[in-house]
Subunit: 334 residues, 2 copies
């Protein structure tokens, strides 16, 4: 494999000159420059980024730690991150800790070993070890999707107003018994979405009925069971809000199993959109998280942090899009 030394020899110049024409880092006489360029072509030279990184202590690489890569949900996030990173000349190192805090710690160390210039982290449930490591080594870091510490840079979705809006939408259609299928207790997103739910109720003078706030554990199966419970209530809800995409699936299954037709018999609105949601039956009314924008913003924050390690920590909450379809019942004859 051709090295700079080969090119230098071929061009009859010093290795330093080659480096400088390559990087445009100091003036070079046009003819010399041309010779070097020719030599590069002749030698079929490809710069060695590894050597470059060792010399400069920069890798132009950013690490992305994402669990459940396969969640279609994250496709857009990945896309946003990749394109914004590429635009800035950075390449992505992708690792998947599979929601395991210990693995998370390990992969973060690995990323640091590889000397990534920065880390984008969608934190697991117990990200303590990983975060401490990152902080201790002062690795520029941005939290994505799950916001857990406003002393760090982080980007995610605005949850409170979004859910309040969903509840309001139902209330305005006349619903008074609105249930929430909430996520895993303790999770930041869960807390905020429950808060939004209660805010929405309050705004419309609706009472808080504890029986209508059920735990779907952020998962399909638990949500299915929770909705089943809701349907068995003496005074079942006339409308349901589900707090993430997996739970929406479970809720729909429970409803279908019970022979409850949405939106005729019951209204349902959801947090998170689905790809090809138009072909669902019924077409779901949802708030859609802007994952693409979240990814892009995360990269921007990270670049800023890398440029200025002393910058003030920033928390950005992106407002999700309200997608008005059929499951809320707005298309129904009054």
């Amino acid at each position: 494999m051709a090295t700079m030394a080969d090119v230098a020899r071929l061009a009859g110049v010093s290795i330093a000159t080659v480096s400088h024409v390559l990087n445009g880092t100091r003036a070079v006489r046009p003819e010399t420059r041309a010779q070097v360029l020719d030599a590069i072509r002749a030698a079929d030279y490809t710069p060695n980024t590894v050597a470059q990184s060792l010399a400069t202590a920069r890798t132009t690489t950013i690490g992305l730690t994402l669990s459940a890569i396969s969640n279609p949900y994250f496709g857009d996030l990945l896309l946003g991150v990749e394109s914004e990173a590429a635009r800035a000349g950075y390449t992505l190192l992708l690792v998947d800790p599979h929601e395991d805090p210990e693995l998370e710690d390990r992969v973060v160390r690995q990323l640091h070993s590889r000397r990534v210039d920065g880390v984008l982290l969608a934190p697991s449930a117990e990200p303590g070890a990983a975060l401490r490591y990152l902080a201790h080594r002062s690795v520029p870091t941005v939290l994505v999707d799950r916001l857990i510490d406003d002393r760090m840079d982080q980007v995610g979705t605005e949850n409170v107003e979004a859910v309040a809006g969903l509840v309001g939408h139902l209330a305005e259609r006349g619903h008074r018994r609105i249930a929430l299928v909430a996520g895993h207790p303790g999770r930041a997103t869960t807390i905020e979405r429950v808060e939004g739910y209660e805010l929405g109720l309050a705004r419309h003078g609706l009472p808080r009925d504890p029986a209508l706030l059920v735990d779907g554990h952020s998962e399909t199966e638990a949500a299915r069971a929770a909705v089943h419970t809701l349907l068995g209530l003496d005074a079942p809800p006339t409308a349901i809000v589900t707090a993430n995409n997996s739970m929406t699936i479970g809720a729909m299954q429970a409803l279908r199993d019970a022979g409850v037709e949405v939106p005729r018999d019951l209204a349902l609105v959801a947090f998170d959109d689905f790809p090809w949601a138009d072909l669902f039956a019924p077409r779901l009314t949802v708030v859609a998280q802007p994952f693409d924008r979240i990814g892009r913003e995360a990269v921007r924050l990270l670049l800023r942090r890398m440029a200025d390690p002393a910058a003030e920590p920033t928390t950005t909450r992106m407002v999700p899009d309200f997608v008005h379809r059929d499951s809320c019942g707005c298309g129904l004859p009054a």
Copy 2:
């Protein structure tokens, strides 16, 4: 940042010894070893993979070139690749050429610059430049998803029998006018799926009606138009096979717009499954590509190729899963 030299000094040994205890690459007296380990802890030492790579000419990194990362379709592929790579101690460098051959060439060069040990490539429509570069530099490479050259290692889905099976399923239900919405002309997958379609017809003694083989261009909009055309035929099909997920969407839209109810008025079976396909109406009968397994196998082939550059090129075709749901009409009262 602590280096090996720091650790060596702290432990009162040579840098060589530190390296050897770290890599287990030669015998070290237990006590010396213990001292070194202590020093590593004390210095809070993290190995520098970059330096390691420069010295060994290996990066334990593999490059993944994937367009349309956001296609939910690819989530499982990514998952398979990531986990299998991680298992072998490799980290993924992810790049997205956005189906652009020129960009593809550029990102491939970039990956080589970063000295990835191997490349997984889902080739664009014109992968010539990128492939030549890879071959010329003898970078171990495995083609994924789109099989285009059996002189290289490649992994994808078995298309012919899969589509023939789909057609057979319809034929056995009594359909005699079965249409195919085919993909972008010339693409390897398109050719094979068309072949499977014709094979399926032949096996059941069905005539080949050119009017029933329409071009959906692998895209939603074109498929929608194509199905519209099909419906306008004097003798329209009673069943449709769509050759990929995007075209299935288009077909469903066209059918809905025309007031054709599936499977009551017309049967539809598709290539490619969807996440949450259970919530579609109707629930689609499909063949699902095993992307997870494809990803894993691709990594395995790549590892083999890296270990033995002279190995015989292997083409692997994974048999997709038949998922029997409702859109084929099998659940209909006879």
